[in-house]
Every structure is written in C-alpha cells, then in structure tokens.
Symmetry: C2
C-alpha cells in the first residue's frame, strides 16, 4: 500500500502509510494538539476531527488536546477504527475527502520541519526495567565477576524499579549535566560534584493505554492488550552517582534528572507483523509470566554520538529489541501482580538493549567497559562517557518488505552542569 | 485561642482552631470538595468561597475541586492568608460572618460523621525514604548483623526510592493481601502465593505544595518552603516478596500494592511551634544537606492493631517523629539535587519511624524481630505479621499547651488475597 503523500513511499522513510504513529505537535506557537506522521508531513488530527473526517467514537473530541491520553483511554475499538479511518484518508486511491480537498490539506498538513514536537502523552508514572540479559550480564560482570553476574532472581522476575515521571522529556530537549554525591571506593568521604560518568541507556518504552484495577493481577495477554504502542527511550544515567547511592534501595538521583523519548508513539497495530519471540527460557517461569505468543518485536536499533562542532555523528552501536529476555507484556503483568494499579499514560522502559557483540552494546558503560577502553569516534575523538556538548541520538525501525515502521529519533544534547552553591 | 465550635476546645481533640488541616470530603454523594477540620465538624470551603467569605487570591476558585493541588499551587502568601481568614471565621469572638449566620452554618458545617473523606490531593509522584536510623539499624542487623547494619552511604545520603503513586489511598480504604513471587533461601525455586509476611511501616508523609525546575538543585531552606504540610503514612509492605525481589534495584511489588495516608493535611504553619532538630550528625554532611534551623517536628505517634471481631484495638507501638535522622526538607533537597523536577502533589514518605526501645518500633518486622518473637495483643491473640481481617491504625499529634495538633487516623483493613489463576 502507498500514500498520495509521496514522501511516505520512499523505501527508508520512517513514516509510510503502514506506520501512522501518533504524537503531539504545534506550529507557529499555536496550541499543541494530536497529529499523525506520514512521510515528511504531520497530519493535524484535531483539524480532521473538527471537519468530521475523523471520529474516535467517544462522547467528546479527543485530538484537540496536548496529549494522547484521552484517545488512548477510549480503548482498542477506537484505536482500530481511527487507524482504519486514517489509512483510508491517506492511501493512494482511498477516500478522497482529504486527498481531493486542497483547502483542507492546507489546514491539516503541516511539514515536519515546521512542526514543534511535544511530549506525546502525559506520563502518569515511569518504570524502568532491567530485562536485557546481555546488559545485566555485562554490568554484573564488571561489578561481581562473570560467575555471579546475574542476580539470583533475574531469570525468574522481570526486575524493575520505579523511575521519575516528572523528567521524562521529548526528544530534542537539552539536558544539564547532573550534580550530586559521588564517592569512589578509594575516597575517604563522598564529595559533591558534577557527574563525571554520564551515560545513555538504549531502551524501548511501552506506553500503557488502558488502566488496571487496584488489587487485581492481570495475565500477560491482558497486559499486552493494555499496551497502546512503543517509543524509543534513552534512560540517561549518572554512573558515579549511581554507584554510591544505589544500595540498598536502587537507583534514585542517578536516573532522575532526565529520560528522553522519541516523539512518535508507534502503535502495536503497526508493529504486529514484526512480532518476535522471547528467547528460550533458561529457567521455567511461573505461570503468571507465561506468554501466549510472540510478544517482542524485531526492531533494529542504532546509537549515534556527535560531539559539539563535529561535522557528523558517529555510530556507536547497532542492536535489536528482540535481544530482550522479557517482553513489555511480561513486565506489565509483573508490574500489576501485587495489585498495583496501572494507569493510562504509564511508561515502561525495557531496560538496556545490548546484543552479544561489543558493537551491539546499548550503554557507554558497556562499550568502554567501565570507562577502561575508550571508544574512538569517526572524527578521531575518543570517549569513555559523555562530554558537555555531545549529542546522543537513538533511532530504530522494523524492516518490512519495501517499507520501514520507523520510530524517528530520540535525541538529546548535554549542557554544562547548573551553577549551584548550597 | 478557642473556637465557637465547642467540640474543637476539648483538650484531646485533634482539630482545635490552632490546627485547621485541609482535606477533601463529600456528603450525601455530592461532588467532593475541599474542607477544613474543626472539632467534630468539617467546614465546606467551597461554600465559604462561593459566599465570598474565603478568598485564596487566585484568578479562579480553588476549593470547589476534588483535590488541594490548585490551592497548594497558589503559594505561601495564599496559604497564610487562607489560614488567617479561617482563623478569624472560626475563633470565638472573631469575624461573625459564619458564627452569626445560622443559614450559612447549615450549608457550610458538616458533621465529620456524615462526611466521606477522599484523597486530599492528587499524588503526582510518591517517594519513600529510609531516614530512620533505628529502623535502618534494626533491619540491617537482622539481615547483615549489627556490625554491618547501616549501609556505607546511610550517614551521608537520605536514602530513598521512587514508590508507586497509583496506589496511594486515603485512610479507611480496604486493602487486598498482595500475591506475588516469593522464595525462601531454602527453597529450590520461587513460588507464586499470597504474601505471608504482610507488614506496616509507620511514617510521616510530606506533601510538596510548590514545584521546582528541572535541572536546578534547591537548598534545604528552599525545600522546606516548598512543603505544604504533613500526613501520617502507612507504607504497607510484603516482606517475603521484598526479600526475593529487592536486589539489585530496590523494592518494587512488595511496596506497590498500597500506601495509606491520613485524610487531613496538617499545615506547616500549624506545626511551626513544634519544630525539633535532627540529632547530632555522626558524619559531617555535604553542605547541600545542611539545615538552616530545626526541621523535624515533635509529633507523638502510635500504632494500633484490631483483629476482626476483637472488642478493642491493641496498641503496638508509641514513638515520635523527632527520632528521624533526616528531615523532610533534607530529603526534598536531596531528591531535587540531580536536577529532578519536583511537582505540586509529590508525596515524600519519611521512612519507618522507630525509637530505640522495642515499644517504639514502627513495623511488625522489628516488633516480632523478623517473625521470631510473636507479639501478644491485649485480647490474648498473638501476631508476627498481619492476618486477614486485621485493622491497622496509625495516629499522631503534636502536644501543645492545652491543645493538640492532631492528624486523625490512618487506618486500613486487610482483605483476603484476590482470586487469580494465571
């Protein structure tokens, strides 16, 4: 299938008609509203809704809002119906209501280059998992040696911790280098300074579109049905702050300063052809974690770094989401198992996605093996961790036959630490 | 000072005119709105606002809302002004606008017994700390022995972790016993079952009333200025789930099923006469954690348990908030230090408040010393952990000269585990 918006039909375009991811945008300083990406254009869904061409089936309008939450809350019948309506409106030889109406196109089609992107949804709560086995093994090996690399519970539980929703930001937002307490094992006492081991974590984020009830566990199938879509996620990490603070209650300020996500939520419907199975279980899972079918996705992922002033970005890693040991549906089922209520807009980070080869590692901690083996960029510069002015960009796509279901970019530039004297 | 509402003047009343805590209530199934407790009555602040007797100073009304968040966001000048206005309206020989108007009283005064209480504010995010030294020492001793009881960072950092806001509930809400993965050290593999070591944690909760900026640390004084008030908080805990899941990233489902808070937010203004200092520092703190003055409070706290069908509740513990090693202001300053944005409605749990004597322990884990020493109730029954049908009640007050600044009760009853077959 192709679109009458020709830019959507280019073979490497992230946003063909098969994708139709949702985001929140504004042009010319107008109020942010919901849009859908197609080729190099954003379709203003609020305009289509007001024109009577798009109906999400609720009792009120849902696209003239600065977040997807209201639309997500309408549930799967609405998600499917809106996708069908958009497909008809944007397909070549489809419904001519938009393709044949130049006046409406001038109102409803906004070049991506003119669109400012906002957070696509209001994050209710953010949870970060640790479900990549290679990553857990690498980090465990650095700290405890390869024999004790994986914690004893790791093969039984999709380990996760609650993160901080208030600092989940949309791609393109700059980030100040965090300050905080650090103490190297050889230091007498902790000191207060800017993070010296600033890192990324390459992750996918699952967006919860429907709520669960407090006090009621859910099955993996029910969990999968609650997921609206996925984004690419960068769980920025301050490794030196983390090392000193994380025992016994887990990461806190080391992860609280920023988490970036890509601006377009790619729907589960668009990803359906790319379902992949989690790897063979090394230990049998308890039944509440059993998957009824393939629940990962075959999504190629890349990491780039571009120092300030560098002519080009250097690729640091290439990996795939199907490397994960646990799927987002398993994570969500585990998240709710104690009776924890899940809400529309909850965001679940997958955990760092690393493949077995060094070129597939999803964090600088792993790429530089704890800072001991500098990485050489294509510009000749080297890095162990992130320096001020560096721009880190994550990208990814599912490769179809002649088209890509792309996520666009999740990018962020590190600014110097804030000026703060206690 | 006394009130013309005579029940407020009884010496042990939790809600004298010196208190004036805020909550959200409804009567007769009407819409929830903001109210203030005085004696055995709730004053409907929305009615007073509509009658022109109460003005928070904003551009719109703020009390005809199901949460205190809008009022909190108006800031200290508004908090002070509303307190002054309420004091004048409710004091004996004060402003007669309410005391002299029987018609208005019939609309604005609701007996507490007829008021249903709701969550007093929308919880943006919930963070739980671990700032009681006796509790950290007790728990550490049980797990690692007295020599290594305190983690190395404990005397330097107010250790905290992000909790789950979606299951913060108002006092009186019943709680289903959580289910989940457990594995005793002697078990071959984990199993899925209802929690067998269900516990409370006696805590105070600090309510953040004003936001901070992303990327900008705040001083302890700035943090204190952002705190609107305090509640009593029960951080329900599933100890067997916790023991198996918490390494390496901290408590997750063991704490995610429920956190109860008392319905009335006691303001910082009411607590001001009861300021107390944190104890002498055993290790010098980094300057960003230095307190400009006393920032704890002298608040007596009690824990009661009442089994289903028992004629009376048994007191399990009596302690005091001034036992804490870190104040809420220090915790909040640490929370924001990396650049973590804090929001209106964030809730910070103090950590379990245990005193040095066994009668002052704030959790059953400590009272029964890991379940090894059963507690005998006044009814003759014994407990190590909580059984189905048990009601746990926390209460507390600051004792003034002839009056109490009370928090009311934070209570919850445990129901059987949900029926769930994966």
């Amino acid at each position: 299938m192709t679109s009458w918006i020709e830019s959507a039909n280019a073979p490497h375009c992230h946003f063909p008609i098969q994708n139709l991811p949702y985001g929140v945008f504004a042009k010319n300083g107008e109020e942010p509203r919901c849009g859908v990406a197609i080729g190099d254009m954003v379709v203003d869904m609020a305009v289509l809704e007001a024109a009577g061409l798009l109906d999400a089936g609720g009792t009120t309008t849902v696209f003239d809002k600065p977040a997807l939450n209201d639309f997500m809350g309408l549930g799967k019948a609405s998600w499917d119906s809106v996708r069908d309506q958009l497909t008809a409106l944007l397909a070549k030889d489809g419904d001519p209501a938009l393709s044949g109406n130049g006046t409406l196109q001038r109102k409803a089609l906004v070049p991506m280059s003119a669109a400012q992107m906002f957070m696509p949804f209001a994050v209710s709560e953010y949870t970060d998992f640790y479900a990549g086995k290679q990553h857990a093994f690498n980090v465990g090996t650095m700290f405890r040696g390869p024999e004790n690399a994986l914690p004893p519970n790791w093969l039984h539980i999709p380990i996760g911790y609650n993160g901080r929703a208030s600092t989940v930001i949309v791609s393109g937002t700059h980030i100040k280098r965090p300050v905080g307490q650090v103490k190297a094992p050889t230091d007498e006492a902790p000191s207060f300074k800017p993070c010296a081991r600033l890192d990324i974590e390459l992750e996918m984020g699952a967006v919860v579109g429907l709520p669960s009830e407090m006090g009621q566990p859910i099955s993996v199938q029910e969990a999968d049905d609650m997921i609206f879509g996925y984004v690419i996620l960068n769980d920025w990490s301050a490794r030196d702050i983390q090392a000193w603070e994380y025992q016994p209650l887990g990461p806190f300020q080391a992860k609280a300063f920023a988490t970036s996500i890509s601006p377009w939520v790619v729907t589960k419907a668009a990803l359906e052809p790319f379902r992949a199975s989690t790897p063979a279980r090394e230990k049998e899972l308890l039944p509440y974690l059993n998957e009824p079918g393939p629940m990962l996705y075959d999504i190629d992922l890349e990491v780039y770094m571009q120092p300030e002033g560098a002519a080009k970005a250097s690729r640091l890693a290439k990996t795939n989401y199907k490397q994960m040991y646990y799927s987002a549906a398993q994570q969500l089922a585990h998240h709710a198992v104690s009776g924890c209520k899940m809400n529309i807009g909850d965001l679940l980070g997958s955990g760092t996605i690393s493949g077995p080869d060094k070129s597939e590692y999803g964090s600088l901690l792993e790429m530089s093996w704890g800072g001991k083996e500098p990485i050489t960029l294509e510009t000749g510069e080297t890095r162990t961790f992130i320096e001020d002015g560096d721009t880190l960009t994550l990208t990814g796509w599912a490769q179809g036959d002649g088209y890509r279901i792309g996520f666009g970019e999740c990018t962020g530039t590190i600014l110097p630490a804030p000026d703060f004297k206690a």
